[in-house]
Amino acid sequence: MNENQNKTVDFPGKIEEIPGGGIVLSKLDDIINWARSNSLWPLTFATSCCGIEMMATASAKYDFSRFGFEVARATPRQADVIIIAGTIVNKMGPVLKRLYDQMADPKYVIAMGACAISGGPFFYNTYSVVKGADHIIPVDVYVAGCPPRPEALLHALITLQEKIKSGMTREQIKTKNPNP
């Protein structure tokens, strides 16, 4: 399993030799984070153009089921990550907040596309667009582009996995400021 390290995500049980022989597993947290990061079930939530690219990511060519993301749940109760794909307008704001609130912990958010990050193309001269979804709910990962191509979304999901594996909270991220 180690020779195709880059290919597969290994089970995080680190094998450590103890002087008296025998082995111990690594901490429970690692295992939990490993599990969480490897089964992110997205909520089927797409408001506009970026949603199509999200579909494309699900489709056979880019197939995010390789990471175990394909179990798209229609109800927030069972979803882990909400991919804000598309513009959020003022009328949609409360709905988004409600959906996020109704998700069961732990929950993560990916802001996909310029609109979800900052209002994007509709930043100026519009009276109805929320200037960035993070005014409404906390966002974990931003992926820029209009729309981001499917690989970009995959990259965002991998980034989110790294974040979960590292087990850092948003505040720590802000302070430590790791790359990306």
Partner: protein
């Protein structure tokens, strides 16, 4: 970054009056079957639908207002976000409107490129619709098979236009860049692929007994209703109303190409389904006619750096994948439109939903709504 938002205001509209034994269900804004953020308030009696009331605006981005402050070169990119599944055709409509205004003559090569792109877009859009349609009625596999073809088109687009979805390619006076060298070859490959796969669509969905039972005699629209509710595109053509702008008011060189306007008379969901499936073949036919004789020449007419429309009103109509898109520009002679109105096909097509679905089941609603092929940002604009 996180702070409680103050600018949003709750959007609960107590609407349908629930009588005895009426179940009022919200479908959407977040719902797998509404392809985006359509919000339907359904009044049910048991499983039977008594009333469907669409609530729009969950993706209303005030594009018309924006365009009033964008120049004639700039505002086109917004329109590809409007009906993102036929972005080219939206851009096309706006470009035509501007060109009419300024009497710009489009070089023949640019015309051919535009038509090619339009038809490719139409196919791509219908492919996606087909997959989503099958998914709505509960078959998941066709979705992935449809995306195989759609992705091929996306690659072709990306190679030439530089974007997969919202390519701001057709600009006033022509197109933004010339075709990519291997465009022709790849389109031909795509046609081969398409022809080798199209029969699978019948095997997997069209011929399937369950699917036919789900679609036949569901959501019937009569021709009069279709006209009166202003339906266009496949929705109206499914009811036998001839409304293909490409035939009635030919805009580029559509009058020189030969293709048939697809008409079905049944008016039910299955008819609309068949219209779209057959339209794909027509588009392939158009592409085959054009792909081998793209005239040489430049791809963009010489235009001034800053476009100014003369004072007046200009209206242009194009046939998007969903129906008739009207672009209505009122100009004061400035560099930006004074008022711009997009007559979007989805808006009218949606308005007939309630009329056509009363007395059906929830399953009917989903199936019939799938055949309307709604793109919500196109409705809300």
């Amino acid at each position: 970054m996180y702070r409680e938002t103050t600018i949003v205001n709750d959007s609960t509209q107590i609407s349908s009056d629930g009588g005895a034994g009426d179940l009022i269900i919200n479908v959407g804004p977040q719902h797998p079957a509404t392809h985006g953020v359509l919000h339907l308030v359904i009044t049910l009696n048991g499983e039977t639908i008594k009333k469907v009331e669409p609530h729009l605006g969950y993706i209303h981005r005030s594009i018309e207002k924006m365009c009033e402050s964008l120049t004639y070169r700039q505002f086109i990119y917004v329109t590809s976000r409007m009906d993102y599944l036929s972005a080219h055709i939206n851009n096309h409509g706006c470009a035509i409107c501007v060109e009419n205004g300024m009497q710009i003559e489009i070089p023949p090569r640019a015309q051919v490129i535009r038509v090619l792109m339009d038809e490719l877009t139409r196919i791509a859009s219908h492919e996606l619709w087909w997959g989503a349609m099958a998914m709505d009625v509960g078959a998941f596999t066709p979705f992935f098979h449809a995306f195989r073809e759609r992705e091929t088109i996306n690659d072709i687009m990306e190679e030439t236009c530089g974007a997969r979805l919202t390519m701001n390619y057709i600009v006033p006076g022509g197109v933004m860049y010339d075709l990519h060298p291997n465009f022709q070859q790849r389109v031909k490959d795509f046609i081969k692929l398409y022809k080798s796969k199209i029969h699978e669509y019948d095997e997997m969905v069209t011929g399937n007994i369950i699917f036919q039972n789900r679609m036949k005699n569901v959501g019937v629209i009569s021709a009069e209703d279709a006209i009166s509710w202003g339906c266009t595109g496949p929705v109206a053509r499914g009811s036998g109303v001839s409304c293909d702008i490409r035939k009635l008011y030919p805009y580029e060189l559509y009058d020189k190409i030969e293709f048939d306007e697809v008409l079905e008379t049944a008016g039910d969901s299955f008819a609309r389904y068949m219209v779209r499936v057959r339209e794909m073949n027509q588009s392939i036919r158009i592409i085959e006619q054009l792909i081998d004789n793209i005239p040489e020449g430049d791809f963009q007419a010489k235009t001034k750096a800053v476009l100014k429309l003369p004072k007046g009103e200009f209206y242009s109509r194009v046939e998007t994948a969903r129906g008739e898109l009207g672009v209505y520009i009122v100009s004061e002679g400035g560099t930006t439109p004074y008022r711009i109105k997009f007559r979007s096909p989805g808006f009218s097509n949606l308005s007939i939903l309630d009329h056509m679905i009363r007395g059906g089941k929830i399953g009917d609603l989903i199936a019939a709504m799938g055949t309307l092929d709604l793109v919500i940002p196109d409705i809300d604009r």
